[in-house]
C-alpha cells in the first residue's frame, strides 16, 4: 500500500434549511504518497474548504457525502461517527491548519493548555503530570525558532499574528499526523511573515514531524515554490492537475491560463504584458450544471461545451478537464 491518502470520486453536498441541495464538490480523485506536497488553488467559492472537511471525514450536517471514498493509509473515513473520527483520526492521522489563525486559538486559554488539551484528547498524556507534558511541549516548540517559554505561557492576544500562526502550526502537528491539510495558512499575513511561516513548515518537513501536506491557497506563485503538484479547482471540480512547473509555466486549461494571465509581478520583462481578464463570476452550485462549468466565462468556449460533460483527460502529461485543450 504505497498511497498514504487515496480519494476516489469524492462528491459532497450541502442541504440548506429550505431543502436546497448545493453540490459543493463533485468527483474529486487523487492519491498522495509519503512526503508529497499537493497544492490546491482556486478562487473564493470554488469548494476548497468543503473539500477539507471531506478529507478529514467531518461530515457534520448541513454537509453530507453524496458518494466516493477517502482512505488514509488504507483506512476509510466514510460513514463513521464523528466521535470515532474525532478520537482516532483527527490530529493523529489527518490534521488541519486553519485559515485565519488570528482567532483560531481560544482567547481565554494559554498556548500550553490548548496543546495539553490536544494531547489529553488523544490520550497522549498517559503520564499525566504537568511537568512532563510541559517538557514535551517545550521540546517540540523549540523547533519553531520562537522564545518557547514566553509563547507557551502567554494568551493568544499577547502574541503577534506571526507567532499565533506558528503556534497553530505547532499545535496542529503536535502528534505527528500522517497528512496535514493547510487551508490558506498565510493569506492573512504580510509577505515577510508569510516567508517566515513557510520556512518553518519546511523545517518541520525536514525534521519529519509530518511528511505529507495539502496546501490550499489562491496564490499560485506561492504554490509554485511550496508544492510538488498543483490541482486547480473551479466550481467544485478539479479542472487541471499536474506538477507545479507544468501548471504554472505551461497552463493548458483555459481557466488556469486565465489565472496565470491575470498574475502581475514586478519585474522588467513583464512590463508590457497585458493581463488577461475574464468577465462574470463562478456559477452557483445550487443546480446541477450540464456540460463544462467554465463554459459561460471561457474565452475559447464552443457551443458543444455547454452540453457535453467534460472529463479529465491526459493533455501534455497532465490531467485537464477540457476536450479542446491542447
Amino acid at each position: 500500500m504505497s498511497h498514504i491518502l487515496e480519494v476516489k470520486d469524492l462528491t459532497l453536498h450541502y442541504l440548506t434549511r429550505f431543502g436546497q441541495k448545493i453540490h459543493a464538490v463533485t468527483d474529486v480523485s487523487f492519491t498522495m504518497k509519503q512526503g508529497e506536497i499537493l497544492g490546491i488553488a482556486g478562487e473564493s467559492g470554488c469548494g476548497k474548504s468543503t473539500l477539507v472537511n471531506g478529507l478529514m471525514g467531518l461530515f457534520i450536517p448541513p454537509l453530507y457525502p453524496t458518494s466516493g471514498d477517502v482512505l488514509v493509509s488504507g483506512e476509510s473515513l466514510m460513514n463513521r461517527t464523528t466521535k470515532d473520527i474525532r478520537t482516532n483520526i483527527l490530529s493523529q492521522k489527518v490534521s488541519m491548519i486553519p485559515q485565519g489563525a488570528f482567532n483560531a486559538l481560544n482567547p481565554t486559554r494559554k498556548i500550553k493548555d490548548i496543546a495539553a488539551d490536544v494531547m489529553a484528547a488523544h490520550s497522549e498524556n498517559k503520564s499525566g503530570n504537568k511537568r512532563e507534558i510541559y517538557e514535551r511541549l517545550r521540546e517540540r516548540f523549540d523547533l519553531f525558532g520562537m522564545e518557547t517559554d514566553r509563547i507557551l505561557n502567554s494568551y493568544p492576544i499577547q502574541l503577534t499574528a506571526g507567532e499565533r500562526q506558528r503556534s497553530v502550526i505547532g499545535i496542529s502537528t503536535l502528534l505527528n499526523p500522517k497528512v496535514v491539510i493547510a487551508d490558506e495558512p498565510t493569506s492573512a499575513l504580510d509577505v515577510t511573515t508569510q516567508k517566515v511561516v513557510i520556512k518553518m513548515i519546511f523545517d518541520l518537513l525536514e525534521k519529519n514531524i509530518f511528511s505529507t501536506m495539502i496546501f490550499i491557497t489562491h496564490e499560485l506563485p506561492l504554490l509554485r515554490h511550496v508544492a510538488h503538484n498543483i490541482a486547480i479547482m473551479y466550481a467544485g471540480e478539479f479542472v487541471e492537475c499536474g506538477t507545479a512547473v507544468q501548471v504554472v509555466h505551461d497552463p493548458r486549461h483555459p481557466y488556469t491560463k486565465a489565472l496565470m494571465g491575470a498574475m502581475l509581478s514586478a519585474d522588467a520583462n513583464q512590463k508590457n504584458k497585458k493581463p488577461t481578464t475574464i468577465e462574470g463570476a463562478p456559477p452557483s452550485l445550487a443546480k446541477k450544471i450540464e456540460g463544462c462549468r467554465f463554459a459561460e466565462r471561457c474565452p475559447s468556449a464552443r457551443p458543444e461545451c455547454r452540453n457535453k460533460n467534460q472529463n479529465l483527460r491526459m493533455v501534455g502529461e497532465r490531467l485537464v478537464r477540457c476536450d479542446y485543450a491542447e
Binding site: S44, T192, A262, M263, S265, A266, A268, E279
Partner: protein
Amino acid sequence: MRNNIVFSAKNISKFFGHGKKLVCAVDDISFDIADGEIVSIVGGSGCGKSVLAKIMLGLYAPDRGTFLYKGKPIVDTRDHWNEVQSVFQDPFGCFNQFFSIRTQLKDAFGILKNKPSKQEIEQRVDEALLAVNVKPSDIEGKYPFELSGGQMQRMLLARIFALKPKVLIADEPTSMVDACVRANILDYLMKLKESLGMTIVFVTHDIGLAYYVSDRIFIMHESKIVETGKPEEVTQHPKSAHTIRLLEDIPDINREWIKK
C-alpha cells in the same frame, strides 16, 4: 506633462488614541504629486497607507505639518470633494443596502456645487455605466446585495466616471476582488487617466499591480515613506533595506524563493 503640483505634503504626521495608547499612523511624511500622474502607495497592512489616503481625501486632518491641495490647505471639505473623490476597498460595504444602485449613483452629484440638471445626471450616469462595460438595463432596479464583488467595484468606478473629479484616491480597490477581475479595475484606472487626465493615487499592498499601473511608486513601512521612484527604479535597484527585503519575500514564479 503639465507639472503643476496637485498634492504637496511637508512633514505631515497623524496620531490616534491618547496618552499611553497613542499610535502614530503617519510619521513625518513629505511628497509632491503632479497633475495627471498615477502614483501608487505600496505597503503591508498597518503601515498607515490608508490613513495617508484619508488625509489626501480630507477625511482626516494631519496633526502636524502642512498638507496642500493645489497650494492651499483643505479648509472646506465640501469644496475639496468637488474635485477630489475616492473609491474604497470593500465593494459590499461601500453601498447602502437599502437604496437601489442607480439612486446612489445619482446621489453622488449631491456634492457638486453647480449641480447639473436631472436629465444631465441621468445621461452622465448612463455614460459612466457604459464606460465600465455595464449596460444600464443590467442594474435597473437592482440593490447592492444582488451583485457580485467585481460588479460592485465597477459601480464605484462608474461613480467616478460620472462625477469626473480632477483627482481620484483609490484606497485598495483590488484587494477584495478575485484575480481575473482585478486587472479590469486597473484598466479602468488607466482609462480615467488617459481619457479625463485624472490624477490618481492608487493604494495597494501588491507591488505587482503598482508596477503595472503607476508612473511613480511610494513604498511605505511603519508609517514612513522609505522609498520613492519610477517602477523600474524601485524594483530593479531599490535603495532602502525594507524594499529589498519586500521584493525578495514576494514569491515570484521565475526566481528562487526558498531553498527547499
